[in-house]
């Protein structure tokens, strides 16, 4: 997982939003897109169906400028959530430095959440990645919905977050929790910089 290229003096982090369909992954990206000054962001690429469902992926490049002498860029991706886009998900997840799992807090979506999380773990297992070492952050989206429609973050934590990774309640449509989640993911990913693997020789991505 080389996120840092010493010879080009750049840090590139690929963070992928995964989660069940309609859980709000693209909404996360759109919220971020709207808040980032135009000189810091690239064009958001969104391949969606007519009903605004993500067909292939969304892509949002962020230029964070030069930090500690390194030109720092974040690439945010979303995968299509529906179960039958498994192959596309695999493709987009390829080379991800960190994953944000966007869970749908609606009570009736719990099974989809579990199914999607299992799919993610399957992918990590296929890649031979140790899920305990992999930067993962949970986001419990739609927490703004009426209490009786949603599962509390405590129960979501208990059900989905058995590895006790950082988790955030969020309302991606209005913003709360969106940047917090991204920030936590960024910190986990950047934490990998000092590990021996990442300190490898300026490997090109």
């Amino acid at each position: 997982m080389p996120v840092v290229n010493y010879s080009a003096r750049e840090i590139v982090c690929k963070i992928v939003y995964v989660g069940p369909g309609r859980s709000g992954k693209t909404t996360n990206l759109q919220y971020i897109y709207d808040r980032v000054p135009s000189n810091r962001r690239g064009t958001m690429v969104s391949l969606a169906t007519q009903t605004e469902r993500t067909l292939f992926f969304d892509f949002l490049p962020l230029e964070l400028g030069t930090i500690s002498g390194f030109s720092t860029r974040f690439q945010l991706y979303t995968v299509p959530g529906q179960v039958y886009y498994r192959a596309t998900r695999r493709l987009v997840l390829q080379g991800a430095d960190g994953v944000i799992f966007v869970a749908d807090s609606q009570r009736r979506q719990m099974d989809e959440n579990v199914e999607s999380l299992r799919d993610l773990h399957e992918y990590l297992a296929e890649q031979g990645t140790d899920p305990r070492e992999f930067p993962l952050v949970m986001q419990y989206n739609k927490q703004d919905l009426p209490r009786d429609l949603i599962t509390s973050t405590a129960i979501l934590d208990e059900t989905l977050n058995f590895r006790a990774v950082p988790s955030f309640a969020a309302d991606a449509l209005h913003g709360p929790g969106v940047f917090e989640t991204l920030r936590a993911a960024a910190e986990l990913v950047l934490g990998k910089l000092s590990t021996p693997v990442a300190a490898g020789m300026g490997t090109e991505r």
């Binding site: 840092v4 010493y6 010879s7 003096r9 840090i11 971020i32 709207d34 808040r35 980032v36 000054p37 810091r40 964070l64 400028g65 030069t66 930090i67 500690s68 002498g69 390194f70 720092t72 974040f74 913003g175 940047f179 991204l182 920030r183 960024a186 910190e187 950047l190 934490g191 990998k192 910089l193 000092s194 300190a199 020789m201 300026g202």
Partner: protein
């Protein structure tokens, strides 16, 4: 003076300042025991001065017997200077050493004040040795205050260093509510929250925003609603939304700084620094790509900086010679400093002014006669095909035969050839020798050599002057070879044939004879001016004759004869070539009429 308004009970504690407040409280409870010195740093407007004041107030309350001194670094400097000026430096020291708790604000201004630093180091040492408490604030950690003595940095960092971060949203709301209570102002629900959301993450600015709202509410004499507040704040921050990104950005920056190895960050910053200025930083980039930190990072950096400095001076020199050379790529690559040096050396030599031919001696004014016919033809050939036909051309002839005119004419003609820049050197044998002597004396032989070797046409008038100079001959020999190899044209003028120049080295002689040796002789035909002069002379005679006859007839009565007008001038204008030497002709005879009469007799 400690400002009594600053107390712990009106200081809002949030996540960002909790550690600092705990440390200050601990110090207030037991001054000089824990965290000594205590160093608090934060951006401006986040409560450093408030905490210092609160600490002072609390210490005074809890330990009334302790002397508490609050001063900004500026006060400290002023007092120090005042004490020194009034010769009371000792009193100054004693005063500070009697203090129980010293609160020093804004110590970042230590930068560039070496005397203050050394005095402060003494004061700190004395205070700490006697168990007194020192608390300092700054806008940056001790290690980042520029130009501070290492010993003082160690001293400042010796206790506890805490920072105060920007308050989070909740703390901002709490601060605003607290300020409203203090001011006795009240706002409809949601207004303060809106201010906290929109306003910058700096308490002073937050307070400024609140002040505007309070003032506005007083003017309108009606409560301000959320919408009005939002409008009034101008939504300058685009609903405060970019702040979300800015704060994300600053967190990422912190994370990167924590996880990138320090030396890599430093190296990377150096590389960026140099590349921004247009320099290639290959050496540093290689070090960057290495697995381990280079053993001599500082030395590497210093070496690189020195090389860049050298390149800059080379560039300046090149630009002085030719402004177009400024910014050439060769001056931007420290790996090619050798090439840059060579380039500048070549420029220096090529720009050295070559001796020029006399412009008055042009080819057009050269008269072709039977005596110089061959030489002129050869010269024309050379002008048509320099370096290709007769190389070298050696013009042999006595003084006054027009050698100088001929060789200068060739040089001038080649100089103006087709508008192309032709580097022509035209010098005399004596000057050539003198230049070499001067170069030897000044140690600039290399440059002198390069100057002549860079020319396309080399004309040496007076080869005999070189013949008996050993070193000059050597130089001329090498120059000859270098120029012929390059296809440059050489022209020599000499009074005697090379073979007749006994002191000329054989190798030089054979090379001269390998070109074309042509002879010129003194012209014997009378030029027009001479004829004119003769006619004028005849006119004098004819005008004089009747006068002389008359004089004789009057039995040689003394008589004054004035020459006819204009005669004298005409005679003076006569070319010396007729008489061969100006010394041999007297143009103004004293008492000319007397002499003439003498002649006539």
């Amino acid at each position: 003076m400690i400002d009594g308004r600053f107390r712990f009970d009106n200081f809002v504690v949030g996540a960002a300042n909790r550690l600092a407040v705990s440390a200050v409280r601990a110090v207030a409870d037991t001054p000089g025991v824990v965290y000594n010195p205590l160093f608090i740093y934060s951006s401006s407007g986040l409560g450093k001065t408030h905490l210092l004041g609160a600490l002072g107030t609390q210490v005074k309350r809890l330990h009334p017997d302790l002397v508490v001194e609050y001063a900004t670094l500026d006060d400290f400097v002023d007092q120090l200077h005042g004490a020194i000026a009034s010769g009371q430096a000792e009193a100054f020291k004693r005063r500070y050493q009697s203090i129980g708790v010293l609160l020093l604000d804004d110590v970042q201004f230590l930068t560039g004040k070496p005397e203050t630093q050394s005095e402060m180091l003494r004061v700190l040492n004395a205070l700490q040795a006697s168990g007194r408490q020192v608390v300092m604030t700054s806008d940056r950690p001790p290690s980042e205050i520029a130009d501070v003595d290492e010993r003082l940095v160690t001293r400042l960092s010796g206790g506890l260093i805490v920072d105060i971060g920007a308050p989070d949203y909740e703390t901002r709301v709490a601060i605003l509510r607290h300020k409203c209570l203090e001011r006795g102002a009240s706002f409809p629900p949601g207004v303060l929250e809106e201010v906290a959301r929109v306003s910058a993450a700096n308490v002073r600015e937050l307070q400024g925003t609140l002040n505007r709202l309070i003032a506005q509410q007083a003017i309108l004499d009606a409560p301000i609603g959320v919408e009005e507040a939002r409008t009034m704040l101008g939504n300058a921050n685009n609903n405060g939304l970019p702040n979300e990104f800015e704060s994300f950005l600053s967190d990422v920056a912190v994370a990167v700084a924590q996880h990138v190895e320090g030396w890599r960050a430093k190296l990377s910053e150096r590389i960026n620094h140099w590349t921004r200025q247009g320099f290639r930083a290959t050496a540093l980039e290689q070090a960057m790509a290495a697995a381990e930190m280079p053993a001599d990072l500082e030395a590497l950096d210093a070496r690189f900086a020195a090389t860049v400095e050298h390149l800059r001076s080379l560039e300046a020199e090149a630009a002085r010679i030719n402004p177009a050379h400024a910014g050439l790529a060769i001056f931007r690559d420290p790996e090619r400093v050798g090439d840059a040096e060579a380039f500048v050396a070549a420029e220096q030599s090529s720009q050295a002014t070559l001796p020029a031919p006399d412009e008055r001696l042009s080819f057009d004014s050269l008269r072709q006669t039977a005596q110089n016919e061959v030489a002129v033809l050869a010269a024309r050939e050379i002008i048509e095909h320099p370096g290709a036909r007769y190389n070298p051309l050696v013009v042999v002839g006595p003084a006054g035969a027009g050698k100088t005119h001929l060789v200068h004419a060739v040089a001038n003609a080649l100089r103006q050839r087709n508008g192309r820049v032709v580097r022509v050197a035209c010098t005399t044998g004596e000057a050539f020798v003198e230049e070499l002597i001067a170069a030897v004396q000044q140690g600039t032989v290399e440059r002198w050599r390069a100057k002549y070797r860079s020319c396309d046409v080399f004309v040496l008038d007076g080869l005999e002057a070189v013949a008996d100079k050993e070193l000059t001959q050597d130089e001329l020999f090498h120059l000859f070879n270098a120029l012929v190899t390059r296809g440059a044209q050489l022209v020599f003028a000499t009074q005697r044939e090379p073979a007749a120049l006994g002191t000329l080295a054989e190798r030089m002689r054979s090379r001269l004879e390998g070109g074309l040796v042509v002879h010129v002789a003194i012209e014997v035909t009378e030029p027009a001016e001479v004829k004119k002069a003769a006619e004028a002379k005849q006119a004098v005679k004819s005008r004089a004759k009747p006068l002389v006859s008359a004089a004789v007839a009057r039995r040689l009565t003394p008589l004054s004869i004035t020459p006819p007008e204009g005669v004298s001038e005409t005679v003076q204008g006569v070319s010396d070539s007729y008489f061969l030497d100006t010394e041999k002709i007297v143009l103004d005879w004293p008492d000319a009429d007397g002499l003439l009469i003498e002649e006539m007799r």
